[in-house]
């Protein structure tokens, strides 16, 4: 069971950052009206506003490199908690930034997962 949860978490993370790095506007498919994003301390709710925030980040191209992915079942919500740490390289910048991010994923009726909660923080040295 644990392995399954880890596989699902890992698959989601790979998909999420692939979209982020290659087709950022498609990330909107992973959020719903109830979704909440806290990005570097700023709270944003709903697909449109979250999409706008992510599309307007001050860099055109970026590449996420994932170091760790930890996943747990959330017994009370039926969802999965995923905790990620990694590096973010922004084109044109010399050094990559380290970050941590948490997702709370909830299953949809169609059998996919959407991001109900999303918290992102850069890890300064």
């Amino acid at each position: 069971m644990e392995e399954q949860v880890e596989m699902v978490g890992r698959a989601f993370v790979d998909h999420y950052y692939h979209l982020f790095d290659n087709d950022r506007s498609s990330l909107s498919s992973l959020y719903q009206p109830s979704s909440i994003l806290t990005f570097e301390g700023q709270n944003i709710q709903g697909v449109e506003d979250i999409s706008t925030k992510l599309n307007q980040l001050p860099f055109d191209q970026c590449q996420h490199e994932i170091s760790t992915v930890d996943s747990q079942l959330s017994a009370t919500t039926g969802g999965i908690m995923v905790f990620v740490s990694g590096s973010l390289r922004v084109s044109g910048e010399h050094h990559s930034l380290r970050f941590s991010q948490m997702f709370h994923l909830i299953p949809t009726l169609q059998g996919t997962l959407f991001v109900q909660n999303d918290i992102f923080r850069l890890n300064y040295g």
Binding site: Q72, M81, F83, S85, M102, R121, N123, G125
Partner: protein, 123 residues
């Protein structure tokens, strides 16, 4: 009570307990609780407290840099995302860490930790 205030109060209580009376953390976990500590999974209050009290350092001090929180859904849960520094007694440099808690309300009006994930942040 304001959710941000609740989250900050919980975080302060958690790390104060961790730093001064680690066994006291038992009050914050239940049978259903899960901890992933540096990639290692542990379930249930007893096992979690055993894991935390057997970490390879006697004394430590957490210094919190950021606390973010969000409601997790209709069950009244709260997700708290923390980053900070962990100073171990005798070590010259503090370690940086991130930790995520999924808190659930208890009938008594407090919170317990349902999900807990801890990671050191290496440079």
């Amino acid at each position: 009570m304001d959710p941000d205030a609740v989250a900050k109060a919980f975080v302060e209580h958690y790390y104060t307990t961790f730093d001064s009376n680690r066994a006291g953390l038992a009050n914050l976990y239940q049978e259903s609780s899960m901890l992933t500590f540096e990639g290692q999974n542990t379930q249930g209050c007893q096992s979690i407290v055993a894991k935390l009290t057997s970490l390879p350092f006697q004394q430590c001090q957490h210094a919190i840099t950021t606390v973010d929180c969000q409601p997790s859904g209709p069950a009244g849960g709260m997700i708290v995302f923390v980053s900070g520094n962990l100073q171990l007694t005798g070590e010259q440099h503090a370690l940086k860490f991130s930790q995520m808690f999924h808190l659930m309300p208890t009938p008594q009006g407090s919170f317990y930790v349902l999900n807990d994930i801890f990671r050191l942040n290496y440079a």
